[in-house]
């Protein structure tokens, strides 16, 4: 949203009155959220908490805007709709994505690789569950609350929070699905061959299996060899 507003100012798509109106709406939205956060008990909050609340508001609005077809439609929404309305729609969208990510996590748990790799097991057993337990949509929608150590083969690190978790779980699911075509003993042997301390290493299992499988095919042998 911030980059969109910046570009809109630069290209004079939004007038100075419209920009001022957006700022005032944002201030009002912030005041409402801060009041909700303090449960009406306090008229002031610490600056770091205020910044966090503002980031959460912007992330939630962003999430909705990013779901629209293109930037032109985003601008039309910003011009014609109240920010509060966009914030409510963002929250609804995140809520449904959160439910979707729970289902994805169930699938990941079902097709997980049987391995002794600590990072892999801890990410599935502790890191990801802590996200579902602690995620705070109302006031900290932009924060991940998860300790994810296991590296994916292709990890999209430019997203955060629910957006990152969904992307992470989708990729992990397909990586697991690929690895499930191989015997777990073969994967363990492959990891042992890769490194003596493979249990402690931050290594992507799928990438190893794929590259060795491709190598095997190039040697005119079975992919499972």
């Amino acid at each position: 949203m911030q980059s969109l507003l910046n570009e809109s100012i630069r290209l004079k798509i939004l007038s100075s009155n419209e920009i001022e109106n957006i700022r005032m709406q944002l201030a009002q939205l912030f005041a409402e959220q801060a009041n909700k956060y303090t449960q009406g008990d306090s008229c002031s909050i610490a600056v770091d908490k205020a910044q966090s609340l503002m980031l959460s508001i912007i992330y939630t609005i962003d999430y909705y805007l990013k779901s629209l077809e293109n930037t032109d439609v985003c601008i039309i929404h910003i011009k014609t709709k109240k920010l509060k309305e966009l914030h409510v729609k963002g929250k609804e969208l995140i809520r449904s994505e959160f439910e979707k990510s729970k289902k994805l996590f169930d699938l990941v748990q079902k097709n997980r690789i049987k391995t002794e790799n600590y990072a892999y097991n801890e990410t599935i057993d502790e890191g990801l569950p802590s996200f579902f337990k602690e995620y705070e949509l109302e006031f900290l929608s932009h924060e991940s609350m998860a300790s994810i150590d296991y590296p994916l083969c292709i990890d999209k690190m430019d997203t955060c929070s629910i957006e990152y978790i969904i992307s992470y779980l989708e990729k992990l699911y397909w990586e697991n699905e690929f690895c499930s075509r191989f015997y777990s003993n073969d994967i363990s042997s492959l990891l042992r061959g890769y490194s003596y301390d493979n249990k402690e290493q931050l290594v992507n299992i799928f990438e190893l299996v794929l590259s060795n499988s491709l190598g095997s095919i190039m040697l005119k042998r079975s992919a499972q060899d």
Partner: protein, 191 residues
């Protein structure tokens, strides 16, 4: 565009605040306490300075008004030092919002300040800031449920000035109060 730009409308509430402060005169004038527009401006400046200094953002406004409303009937505040005391109370309020880890609501903190200012500190801001509120904040940080229980031998009785003082306080005899206040200041400086 950064967060400061987005937060700037929240920070710019001065004009509304000044007129709200001045409107409090309708209620406080019956206690002989009135603020001029200049003094209201000074209070807003103190608030902004305190918020910045203590790393806080005010989103609702009205803190100054709450302090005025609660403290206006204090027997220890006279027109001569009204504005000065309010400025000090405002700074004290934001400082102790942080020190009490936001565990107390605005109303609870202001009520505690007023109660201790009148009944234990007998109008001494130094004692309020450095003794009672400091103790309350420490109790809260230590997780004590009975955080506002200050009934221990902390020397508060030393600052009770006897029946003559209490009579002057009740009758709002400003001349006598100021005389006793002077004695108190000397005593406090020793403390």
């Amino acid at each position: 565009m950064d967060n400061k730009f987005l937060l700037s409308p929240i920070l710019d509430q001065s004009q509304t605040a000044i007129s709200e402060i001045v409107s409090c005169n309708d209620n406080t004038s019956k206690y002989g306490l009135v603020l001029t527009i200049e003094e209201a401006k000074e209070l807003v400046e103190t608030r902004d300075h305190a918020l910045k200094g203590f790393g806080r953002i005010e989103f609702g406004g009205g803190t100054i008004n709450k302090i005025i409303e609660v403290f206006c009937d204090s027997p220890y505040i006279s027109q001569g030092d009204y504005s000065k005391i309010l400025n000090e109370l405002l700074e004290t309020f934001y400082y102790y919002k942080n020190e009490t880890l936001d565990e107390l609501s605005d109303d609870e903190l202001i009520d505690l300040m007023k109660d201790n200012f009148d009944n234990r500190c007998h109008g001494s801001l130094e004692l309020l800031q450095n003794r009672d509120l400091d103790k309350i904040a420490r109790n809260i940080r230590n997780g004590e449920d009975d955080y506002d229980n200050l009934d221990e031998d902390d020397g508060s009785e030393e600052y009770f000035f006897g029946e003559e003082y209490e009579r002057a306080r009740k009758s709002k005899d400003n001349f006598l109060l100021e005389k006793i206040s002077l004695i108190r200041q000397i005593t406090c400086s020793r403390y």
